[in-house]
Symmetry: C2
Subunit: 343 residues, 2 copies
Amino acid sequence: MTRLAVIPGDGIGTEVVAEGLKVLEAVGVKFDTHHYDLGAARYHRTGETLPDSVLEELRGFDAILLGAVGDPSVPPGVLERDLLLKLRFELDHYVNLRPVKLFPGVKTPIADAGPDDIDMVVVREGTESLYAGAGGVLRKGTPHEVATQESLNTAFGVERVVRYAFDKAQSRPRKHLTLVHKTNVLTFAGDLWARTVKRVAADYPEVTTDYQHVDAASMFFVTHPSRFDVIVTDNLFGDIITDIGAAIAGGIGLAASGNVNPDRTAPSMFEPVHGSAPDIAGQGKADPTATILSVAMLLDHLGHAAEAVRVEQAVAADILARTPGRSTSRIGDDIATRVAGGA
Amino acid sequence: MTRLAVIPGDGIGTEVVAEGLKVLEAVGVKFDTHHYDLGAARYHRTGETLPDSVLEELRGFDAILLGAVGDPSVPPGVLERDLLLKLRFELDHYVNLRPVKLFPGVKTPIADAGPDDIDMVVVREGTESLYAGAGGVLRKGTPHEVATQESLNTAFGVERVVRYAFDKAQSRPRKHLTLVHKTNVLTFAGDLWARTVKRVAADYPEVTTDYQHVDAASMFFVTHPSRFDVIVTDNLFGDIITDIGAAIAGGIGLAASGNVNPDRTAPSMFEPVHGSAPDIAGQGKADPTATILSVAMLLDHLGHAAEAVRVEQAVAADILARTPGRSTSRIGDDIATRVAGGA
Ligand SMILES: CC(C)[C@H](C(=O)O)[C@@H](O)C(=O)O
Ligand SMILES: CC(C)[C@H](C(=O)O)[C@@H](O)C(=O)O
């Protein structure tokens, strides 16, 4: 049976993951599911973030569903770096896949934009760049302190994600790929990205390409989102533009993501783009839709394309029928009922 | 007499600068003005971007007005790095000041947002971080290529811009300062920024502070711009969020900026946020308003506060009276007429 590791994490993570699993149950694909209590609570109890033994166990699964990690009681960066990013790096999630799609019926903050204008996929690199954690500090706390961060980029790492993005563009009706970077300032890394896109493009004659600086792209997300079809970009720029993407597509409550290892040398991990939102945790206020859409991506990744479509369609129908003030579990119930064919 | 260096630059830079000077003339402050033909044309003619002798001459001015640099005929990054960024670094423009303000009558792409919601100032650091140009490449063009970029941050550099931002916040009614960074990933640099804000805050008891990760801040620019009053941020993050700021405040045609050396050890430089827009250059289509607002910032910086307000008010009135299809020079004429008291 397909083995699924579940990491609910912190804050609203546990609440939204419960709804994701409800929908997974309703869709009828059987999983052998194991829960892992990684996150702030375990960190406080044991000092551990991601023990080696757990990491090794996780490698044996077919996929991972993650809620959210992070809590104000833990020093900033600890859970992010030693748990979430460590999983992405250790499991070689070199594709961080983030659809930006406005569902009919969802209110976008962008005036005059509709579902036809906002329908793109961001392919964010997941294992390089400033996320490598390289850097240091000298004379900390003195007037002579120097702090550095290093962005590490390799031909190997850039080419594989660029190829993935071309494949993705090739599979979509518009077949258009935009590289987003900052080649005029990050000249070494930007040049590597630009040359790689140019070279790989020769293998995809049907795909048209263009380039935007990250500052201009961020602006166009707001003013002309229909310019974009598939975007390929660096880890940090992808982090920023996918949050703008979430904003224009109706908010962080709807933004799904997959940390994908396309070579399948380790399990891929699916998670909502939102964080643990400690301010609303435990109140049944979180929208589980992003997690449920992440479950759809998980199903698709595991070869259950029809079930993935059923979940997506149930979400689309649920959105059109939205009534305000539904609780987290009520939204999960409603979508699960639709998935099971009940409505 | 006050000495002003003018660098029209490339593309629409020359067109918008002409209108900026028209307005400066109309406001009645006399300047001794010298033009410098830096940009793509000079690069092609002589191979020079910013000769040392010109840089030394520029140091002798009281301020610089710049249009835009950059042209597709020049390899990406050359004019940006060796001219624009070189000026910012050599003249120690450690404050890159970018107001994000929605003028009444301007259409913002953000539904439901009005002038009361969008009124902030971004204080972008201008002389450090990934803009230092540090980095390198190994085995270029091979499958084993490695490209790095290094972000350099110092206590000296961070503290001075943070103090400036606190002063700015102190001078505004809301007295609120938000640090935007990515402390959970850029842990060394982020920690330096966060500690510095915390320490300097003790000297500004009236200013409230908060913190946003750059991804969340980018989202809030779209969904909740009224959260922000003054923002202080790193060079790269400031580049990105000020373009989102331009987008929500009605477009790049209205976004002004100052590259400020608050210690006045060298001239400050004022420029529209937009680029040289080669696609519309020479057609009289560019909106000179961003340059004219940059001229207002220049006047204010040089101690002509009343004249700065007059230019701002003329722009505000012009915006309310906008008729579509006006040419670049017509907009300049209309604003200059208002400034001169004619309307
Ligand atoms: C929590 C943080 C480390 C993470 C990131 O920066 O990638 C988050 O913002 C995301 O986008 O998944
Ligand atoms: C042209 C480029 C180097 C510049 C920057 O990145 O600072 C521009 O985008 C800006 O914001 O002034």
